[in-house]
Amino acid sequence: MRDAMMADANAEQEKARRFRDAALPYLDDVFALARYLMRNAADAEDAVQECYLRALRHFDSYRGPAMKPWLLAILRNVCNAEFVRRGKQEMAPDDADDDPASEQPPLWQEPLASPEAALLRRQDDETVRRLVAALPQPFREVIVLREVNELSYQEIAEVAGVPVGTVMSRLARGRSMLRSAWNGAEAKSPGAVS
């Protein structure tokens, strides 16, 4: 460890250059996930900065496969640690899936299979963001990793540290909650999108 620390400045700069080229292009992605996890811009920025600090620190041991999920996994850990530090259980434990009582019933109640309920109201961008942001963890996380960060199921599984099967069930549950909230949300321009 000591040797690594004493690495000469040139090597450090070369490493920083490689890191910059590899990691900076994903800044928007990292920031987006941070926004949805931390729920406010200032905390998100702090988390992103810490994520890049840690990523740089561990860049030597980075062996792939893909930079984006690697960064997002680090970010997730940063956010997790921050919630632990604050003594909040924002990043819900993994058994949340199995505990229906931990959710607010209206959010995931299956809508009636009537055509009306099944149709999707038109919502403006801001409302969609708000609905996603209002999803409980860990469903918000998988939805964002999928819809915003556009990760594959396998990558989501790696970032969230759960099996692919869990990713699939969380996505299904998360989207069901989202749909219920979606149709319940006050739409600016009511109307169905089919």
Binding site: A16, D28, A47, L119, S152, R175
Partner: protein, 266 residues
């Protein structure tokens, strides 16, 4: 395939994550089940709507600046690109911190650090500046601790092999100073142990090293950039406590640490 299975798999179908065999199964089920067909349609529409809604976020320019600032770059480039919050800019003795951002988003009202180092330089003021810099740096989000635990028996072994000294890690929780964890820091390019404490919102960095400044058993106090700094030597180690905690409470901290250190061989 039953409806419960279909409900999960139809999302994978929408997302293009299903292999051909399962995709056929889902489509066959949907063809014979109005409920699932409706769901597939709805979720497809929702996915479509989400794709169209601009859910992406653009990282603000100042954040990009902060991150670029922490990457070591050649000096010429650095002056052009690096964005540093003014309050933490100091003109001198920055070079060896090269890679670290000096800016911080945390309010300056946060921390105090106790640092133990293996230091050879003897200039008190220089060291004081360095430990305050290290303190400020540590206040950057997530930068405070490498090992985060209130268990002194976890913190202490963590330093093994990372620094040349075995820094005393003293639990003062009962005295109102919460042990947050430990961190490896650098003072003048040398690894230094920092034991991190907190009182209310104020972080205390306690830096510990074999030689860090001019050894004297009596506690010296000074204020650097608004941070209160205390330095003393004991048991062949130099201790530097830095915090924005008020001077009276920081003195109380120093006194508790000293007393505990004298009382135990750790």
């Amino acid at each position: 395939m039953n409806c419960a299975e279909c409900e999960v798999l139809l999302h994978a179908l929408i997302d293009g994550e299903l292999d051909a065999g399962h995709a056929r199964d889902v489509e066959a089920h949907v063809a014979s089940c109005a409920g699932c067909a409706e769901k597939l349609k709805t979720f497809r529409a929702m996915r479509e709507a989400m794709t169209q809604a601009d859910l992406k976020e653009r990282a603000p320019a100042h954040l990009r600046g902060r991150i670029e600032a922490m990457l070591p770059v050649p000096p010429a480039q650095a002056s052009a690109e690096v964005v540093r919050p003014k309050q933490f800019m100091r003109p001198s003795r920055r070079s060896f911190f090269g890679g670290f951002a000096l800016g911080t988003a945390l309010s300056a009202a946060v921390a105090a650090t106790l640092v133990f180092t293996v230091f050879t330089s003897g200039d008190e003021q220089v060291v004081a500046d360095e430990v305050v810099s290290a303190h400020i740096r540590s206040l950057q989000p997530g930068h405070l601790m490498d090992v985060e635990t209130s268990d002194q028996h976890t913190v202490k072994p963590w330093f093994d092999g990372k620094v040349d000294v075995a820094p005393p890690v003293i639990d003062l929780t009962a005295e109102g100073f919460t042990l947050l964890g430990g961190r490896l820091d650098y003072i003048d390019g040398e690894p230094v142990a920092s034991v991190v404490y907190k009182r209310r919102k104020h972080v205390i960095n306690l830096f510990v090293a074999q030689r860090l400044g001019t050894a004297h058993a009596k506690v010296t106090d000074r204020t650097v950039q608004g941070y209160n700094v205390r330095h003393w030597s004991a048991g062949g180690l130099d201790f530097w406590a830095v915090s924005d905690l008020d001077p009276v409470e920081l003195d109380e901290f120093v006194q508790k640490i000293s007393a505990a250190f004298r009382g135990s061989p750790s």
